[in-house]
């Protein structure tokens, strides 16, 4: 095994010095570490708020759709066009899917934004709501919105 590497550095006369492989490696490692740290720091972006925002947007949409009766109508009439419209016209950077589950945890409705691929972080929000039935009783449902950045 080669332990030492001899470098001959000629400064004019027949003078030379020995520089070890260990030292060269240490030097390279040190430089690489400096440059790597710097490049990592320049690329670093705080994403905490971005993820919170994703959850807030999901929560906003579910709350609004529940409060204006869109979710209830979608379940009652199996109508998904309004929800699909909202998902398509919402933020251009977010892909989203809304699934409505019955109280037996069975999916009864699934609406997703078309032509959307997730590349960034994901978040999910849920909201319960009730739908009055024709016989006067109330049925409980749960809407789950999953969202992610394009």
């Amino acid at each position: 095994m080669v332990r030492w590497l001899r470098f001959v550095w000629v400064f004019g006369l027949n003078k030379a010095f020995i520089f070890t492989l260990d030292a060269i490696l240490a030097l390279m490692l040190c430089s690489i570490l400096f440059l790597f740290t710097y490049s990592m720091l320049t690329k670093f972006q705080y994403s905490g708020v971005r993820e919170t925002l994703l959850h807030d947007v999901s929560s906003d949409l579910l709350t609004s759709l529940e409060k204006n009766g869109t979710l209830q109508n979608a379940v009652r009439y199996s109508r998904t066009a309004e929800i699909r419209d909202v998902l398509s016209n919402a933020s251009s950077t977010i892909c989203s899917t809304i699934t409505v589950y019955s109280s037996q945890n069975t999916p009864v409705l699934l609406v997703m934004r078309a032509d959307c691929n997730c590349t960034g972080s994901r978040s999910a929000a849920v909201r319960s709501f009730v739908v009055p039935e024709s016989n006067g009783t109330l049925s409980e449902y749960m809407a789950k919105m999953e969202a992610c950045y394009k």
């Binding site: 320049t42 949409l61 409060k67």
Partner: protein, 179 residues
């Protein structure tokens, strides 16, 4: 008696290498500190914008009838909110907020939204899902940003959230930037 060589080429080379590493450290240290400082500023900006937006869309303000007060200042009002219940915008509050933000009360509005840090400016707008602008405050980033989309810039936090206005879903936008 033989003479020894005290200052050999080895030492010269070693000093050169040490100087190289030292200068690399000095140059990168300043840049790294600069990046950290920008990241910290950006984090503060994002958090301030996020808190302001949550306050507007999730609370009705304190007192809840702040829009009917005769005197608008940070003594009479301790927080600003635009909804009657979560995500349901109160059009009266919204109109009052827009009108106050466009006149001499802009600084008070900033303070009530927690955006009082020096240099912070904000723009608030409400538009329909198909892009029709319904309400908008008059401020926008200065010429420094030109026509570029200021949401993409590092010194601007741009938040987009949703709420109901008169039963319809609307897009609520808050841009906060440093000037």
């Amino acid at each position: 008696m033989k003479r020894a060589q005290l200052f050999s080429q080895d030492i010269i080379f070693a000093i050169l290498l040490a100087l190289f590493i030292l200068s690399l450290w000095v140059i990168l240290k300043d840049r790294v500190l600069h990046v950290l400082s920008i990241t910290n500023d950006r984090t503060m900006l994002d958090e301030a914008a996020s808190n302001a937006m949550s306050q507007l869309l999730e609370t009705s303000g304190t007192p809840a009838n702040w829009n009917r007060l005769e005197v608008i200042n940070d003594t009479a009002i301790s927080s600003m909110g635009l909804v009657s219940e979560r995500n349901v915008l109160d059009s009266e509050k919204l109109e009052k907020f827009i009108s106050l933000s466009n006149d001499n009360n802009y600084t008070t509005m900033k303070k009530l939204l927690g955006l009082e840090r020096e240099g912070y400016e904000f723009n608030f707008s409400v538009s329909s899902l198909n892009g029709l602008l319904l309400y908008n405050t008059s401020r926008s980033p200065s010429a420094v940003y030109g026509n570029a989309s200021y949401s993409a810039l590092n010194t601007t936090a741009f938040l987009e959230r949703y709420a109901l206005l008169n039963g319809s879903l609307v897009k609520v936008c808050l841009g906060v930037w440093i000037e």
